[in-house]
């Protein structure tokens, strides 16, 4: 429970932050003499710059796509409506993807929210808990009956997405690190998988089957049901190849086994 704070210091702090973020507001008497000094802008500038810098660091592919000036102007609007709650600014901007999706000036860049989502996925993968990834050998050891009951839990750092409308993975991966010279882009649906099996975040393209497989695994479904989900998403999916790709990437962190797949099935 937050104690009720009504003392002079609390009133000063309420008034200070109000006028800090709303330069047009008439300042409360407790801070009027401060706001009248040009130096008050040092605080306004520092707070705004700190937030915008953090957002730019957290969304580098978006920033590269739209350029510095556009990004920082959009970020300034975002900052005014969503100041950080968490002083770990590495996590700042969780709602920036949603902001871009409804930000009118971004309407002609419909791929921008998808790119932002992958930038955010990178941050989440980068800071996720450490976990040892399951390797192909762990699966190879399983008897077929055990595999039928196995639930492959996505690795703590794994993040994936399927984008129906645009080649977001290609756009994002070309703009995330050093700008890659871009030949033409084949405009098609694409998916992405970001992983951090060791220290560094890595990424690979993911097809619809792979995304459906990981969704099913994350929902706690055993491997055969996840395989069915993959085939539903893409009926020509090569499941063996898919498993090899996901295991090699380090997409799974641990396995559990459901007791009896048939009764579990009936209980659903």
């Amino acid at each position: 429970m937050e104690a009720l704070r009504t003392g002079a210091l609390a009133r000063f702090q309420d008034a200070f932050v109000h006028t800090l973020m709303d330069p047009g507001a008439l300042p409360d008497a407790s801070v009027a003499a401060l706001v009248a000094q040009p130096a008050f802008d040092v605080y306004r500038n520092t707070v705004m710059k700190g937030c915008i810098d953090a957002l730019q660091a957290n969304y580098p592919a978006v920033a590269r796509l739209v350029g510095d000036e556009w990004f920082r102007a959009a970020a300034a609007i975002y900052v005014r409506e969503s100041l950080p709650a968490d002083p770990t600014l590495l996590r700042y901007g969780a709602s920036f993807t949603d902001f871009l999706a409804r930000f009118a000036p971004a309407a002609e860049l419909p791929y921008l929210p998808g790119v932002a989502r992958l930038d955010r996925s990178w941050t989440e993968a980068h800071t996720a808990p450490d976990e040892t990834a399951i390797g192909p050998a762990d699966i190879a050891r399983l008897a077929p009956a055990a595999l039928a009951r196995a639930v492959l839990h996505p690795h703590a750092a794994a993040r994936w997405a399927w984008f129906e409308d645009a080649p977001i993975y290609t756009i994002w991966s070309r703009n995330r690190a050093a700008a890659v010279p871009a030949p033409g882009i084949d405009w098609r649906a694409e998916g992405a998988l970001l992983v951090r099996p060791r220290d560094a975040v890595e990424w690979i393209a993911l097809d619809a089957a792979g995304a459906a497989f990981l969704d099913a695994c994350a929902a706690g479904m055993p491997a055969p049901r996840a395989a069915s989900a993959a085939l539903e998403a893409r009926d020509d999916a090569d499941l063996t190849q898919l498993m090899c790709t996901l295991l090699a990437a380090g997409a799974f962190g641990r396995m559990s086994f459901i007791d009896d797949p048939i009764s579990r099935e009936e209980n659903r």
Binding site: G7, L9, F12, A39, Y43, A54
Partner: protein, 279 residues
């Protein structure tokens, strides 16, 4: 505490590899704990690797000791967890506020030094020290605004906090210079009056003029080498107090590691010189 710290450097991610490999004697590093409050991943691994080779100091910017509220329990718990993991040689925070009613303002905000503020901040320092089970040091911030209605002089306020809580003081000499210039008082006088025995750490950094405000204000921007006037104040200080762990801070317009190491070397030489060994 057996380690004797001389001169250290603020650690930036761009310099991890060079910092880890650096053999400079007595070198230590300071980080903002907020940048390492993560569940896992390479950041924590880097910091732990650095800690195995060099002493580390945690210099917080977000406890918001001067807010009229208790420190956020979640933030304090994360700080405690990081301190257990890293076992820092030093822990410090600022005489300022930055979090208010659940929002974080990335700056060190001013307040009127009243009796009520003194009590609140002393309580907040004590609460922090209880969680960390060690004393922290509290730093004098940079000032830009003339605030009427301070009931306490800043040095007396800091000394009283130390008396009430047992905390140490972190004297940022650049902040003294910047504040003295902005508010129109003598930096030499401030440094001379500062209670030497309470100083557990010293900060040195660069500042700049704020071009948006007609170059009349100095801003504690940490984007330049330490200014000659600040070096002079520093020598004046340690001649009186004797050597204290001294950190070169640099957060913006980062030069390469070797350049920062050379700047740190200047402080290291001063700390090892006979003039600083008087106390």
């Amino acid at each position: 505490m057996t380690t004797v710290l001389t001169a250290g450097l603020g650690l930036k991610p761009q310099h991890y590899d060079a910092a880890l490999a650096c053999p400079a004697e007595g070198l230590w590093f300071e980080v903002h704990p907020e940048n390492y409050m993560v569940a896992g991943g390479p950041r924590l691994a880097w910091l732990e690797a650095i800690r195995e080779r060099h002493p580390v100091s945690l210099h917080g910017v977000a406890l918001s000791l001067a807010a009229d509220a208790e420190p956020d329990p979640g933030h304090l718990a994360r700080l405690g967890e990081l301190a257990r993991r890293i076992e820092p040689e030093l822990v410090s925070e600022h005489l300022a506020w930055s979090t208010w009613r659940g929002t974080y303002f990335p700056d060190l905000l001013p307040f009127p030094r009243s009796a009520a503020a003194l009590k609140r901040i002393a309580d907040n320092i004590s609460r922090t020290q209880d969680i960390l089970r060690r004393p922290i040091a509290v730093e004098n911030p940079s000032h830009y605004l003339k605030i009427d209605g301070h009931a306490w002089d800043e040095i007396e306020f800091l000394a009283e906090l130390a008396r009430r809580t047992g905390c140490g003081l972190l004297l940022d000499v650049n902040n003294v210079f910047v504040s003295a210039r902005n508010l129109g008082y003598s930096a030499e006088d401030y440094v001379d009056r500062f209670p030497g025995p309470l100083v557990t750490e010293i900060h040195l950094a660069g500042h700049s003029r704020d071009s948006n405000l007609g170059d009349t204000l100095l801003v504690d921007s940490h984007d330049a080498p330490v200014a000659p006037e600040v070096w002079a104040l520093y020598e004046r200080l340690i001649r009186r107090t004797g050597p204290r762990p001294t950190l070169i801070e640099r957060d913006d317009k980062l030069p390469d590691f070797a350049t920062l190491l050379a700047e740190r070397g200047r402080a290291d030489v001063l700390l090892r010189a006979p003039l600083a060994k008087a106390a």
